[in-house]
Symmetry: C2
């Protein structure tokens, strides 16, 4: 009995199961479609999005009207809102992804065994990639574009508040797929946005090959409890910048301000600044001035407040907090060991930076700090698929399996062993 | 608030949590230990296992006495039984793993960005690798050896029936680790073998970086229901050999017999043979004779029974069954499309083979069959870490994330992005 049979009774509503079967069947055709066909589907989707902008915006206005009457907060409404400019950006994103190198078919490695077997590993699509996401309707085209590029079918479950917008965008994507010669079900939207169906979606084992949740802690908690399909977590970032005794302090100031204040609500923004005790008196006042000028509130430990008496107190919970806003925790540490110990304790394993001219300090930091990305003399804000050269990103993984750090199209693939012989049998 | 805080209340007993903290602390030291130190620990463990064989066998006799009085079935008792020869094989396995190339520190890839950032990805240990396994006490040293080799701490949870044996082996491994300069907690055994503790073990999120379950469907089902830690499934194998119209039939006979009958109880054994209708009349009688001579019972579909009237009927459930024994299902298909359609329907995604001299049939089979391994003119029995050249294997993954197919020491690692700059900030 194969394992997936055990879960046949758990896969939720017949409608969802039926849709999942169709998406899986479509995924097999997408997997075999040549790269240019998949790229053509993305370019056609970009063209159609621009041609049909009026219809998409009208659907979006329906969502916004519902959101307004439901009393949705203004910033959340803003995330839901589409505009001609946002649609143009979505179309541009699809064209960028179409222009990336095709990951499918890449030979990962290979060798010949003493018995003559020729062994290689080829990059292949995952199959069906599920994405559960929240308000932003642009995720619909971004995620579907990356999935198709990597030879996968995109099985999408967006939020209830964006349902009309997502329907309109998915309609565009499906028609573009069909025009390019792919099955329409290469992109599919789960229109039942109930919690029960979301849970059933997470349990489509044997139908979904990889699930990517894009949402907050409640979604992640639900996933950890209920999911039976394999998933990759897009984690949060409690990121640190450590200013070493041997730092170039002008460089450190630039990096700290950029890491904290370039954009507040992003996972690669710095949330804690650690300063070596030997440079605290010189560095902290300049840093305070620059951060305050950038609109940031500082909270410091006792040693910080000995230098900056006007700063509020940072307690343990501050150091554990991903503010995602204009607040930063600041601590003074005795040395590199103190900085590393603090980071080990509070890091979420996303991005950690050191500013130093001391090569030994840099090397120890790189070796001993356990995070998806460690940076020397650069802003944590660079930890992003586009900035690091992946072309586009699906998310940033803070787990250690499958993908760690920014995930590009290659992370939406698997491998297949290919073994060619001339009659070998095992003795 | 970082996500792991959300689960602090779910991590089970205080004893397990305390042990998990110690293992995690040890894992940080193992991760930083040079390769030769980790290799030395493995070689010392091999020496100690041989020196202390009497004590280990005595512990094993205690387990066997308990098993006997509990009425454990003879084949299960056999899996539990150690001998001087089995201990020697365990020691040899540790020495083999010690001799493999160190995966830690390998530069996976790297490049320079237009802004001068030097980006690379380094292979790093996972951290704490949990292993849940059943009777065989040799898994204790095999799994721990592979974990240490890849720079990880090994956090082991074996079966109740092997508790005394596992304690004795873990004691050897811990003393060997300490002698080599690693912390003793680099290898730890969960001695509470209750189901509740197993579930708590699966929920040690933030403490276990990767869990590898080695067991049957009940363990996998429990894992899918309860686990919150990342895991890699070692899947079952409903493997097929397809004998094409253009097969060299003498080669096909060798491969079919080897794939089915070389060893019965293994996941890479063939469970179904598919034969092209054009060669069925010629091939099936010879195949029947050879398989029957090897002690195998055939079950065939109607078209097989038209040629081999003495063969029992194979129904749908036969084609879905991983026999792991001396039985094989046989089907006749019209052509390559029929073979692929059958495999798509029944394959568990482990290993699938074609025997053919037709390059187009081989290429289509390789491209269209979605499995961890596809083989052309070779026995499925080669899908094994050692046979394919990985040196040793932790298991064979049938999932598509992180690792697919045989998993070697490299699959017990993650990557870390290292970004080096000279003051770059994001504009």
């Amino acid at each position: 009995m194969t394992i997936w049979c055990l879960y046949a009774d758990l896969v939720g509503t017949p409608e969802l199961e039926q849709l999942a079967r169709r998406v899986q069947a479509a995924s097999r055709l997408v997997a075999r479609a040549p790269g240019p066909v998949r790229d053509e589907a993305l370019r056609m989707a970009a063209d159609l999005l621009e041609q049909e902008w009026a219809a998409v915006l009208e659907a979006n206005r329906d969502d916004l009207a519902r959101a307004e009457s439901a009393g949705m907060a203004a910033p959340v409404q803003d995330r839901l809102r589409l505009s001609e400019a946002r649609l143009a950006a979505m179309a541009a994103g699809l064209r960028t992804v179409a222009g990336l190198a095709d990951p499918v078919g890449e030979v990962v490695d290979g060798w010949v065994r003493p018995n003559g077997l020729r062994v290689s590993r080829l990059r292949v699509p995952l199959g069906v990639v599920g994405v559960i996401y929240e308000n932003r309707p642009n995720v619909t085209s971004d995620a579907a574009g990356l999935c198709l590029k990597a030879g996968n079918a995109a099985f999408l479950r967006g939020s209830d508040s964006a349902l009309a917008s997502n329907r309109a965008i998915v309609s565009v994507l499906r028609r573009a797929a069909a025009k390019a010669g792919l099955p329409e079900d290469a992109v599919a939207l789960v229109e039942d946005t109930s919690h029960e169906t979301a849970v059933a979606f997470m349990r489509l084992r044997g139908r979904i090959d990889c699930l990517i949740p894009r949402g907050g802690p409640a979604l992640i908690a639900s996933l950890l409890e209920h999911a039976t399909v394999p998933y990759v977590l897009d984690g949060d970032g409690n990121c640190h910048v450590y200013v070493d005794a041997a730092a170039d302090l002008a460089m450190a100031l630039d990096i700290v301000v950029n890491a904290k204040a370039h954009r507040f609500g992003v996972c690669n923004a710095a949330e804690t600044i650690l300063v070596h005790a030997g440079v605290a008196v010189e560095f902290l006042p300049a840093m305070e001035a620059a951060l305050v000028a950038a609109g940031v509130e500082l909270r410091g430990d006792a040693r910080v407040r000995a230098v900056l008496p006007g700063v509020g107190l940072a307690d343990e919970s501050d150091f554990a907090t991903e503010y995602l806003g204009p607040t930063v925790a600041v601590g003074v540490v005795d040395d590199l060991d103190g900085a590393i110990a603090h980071i080990v304790r509070f890091s979420s394993g996303h991005s950690e930076a050191i500013v130093t001219t001391d090569v030994r300090a840099a090397d120890r930091f790189v070796a001993e700090v356990d995070a998806a990305a460690v940076l020397v003399n650069a802003s944590t804000r660079f930890v992003d698929g586009e900035e690091l050269g992946l072309g586009a990103e699906v998310g940033i993984s803070t787990q250690k399996l499958h993908a760690r750090g920014p995930m590009g199209v290659r992370e939406l693939t698997s491998v297949k062993w290919v073994v060619r012989g001339d009659g070998q049998v095992r003795r």
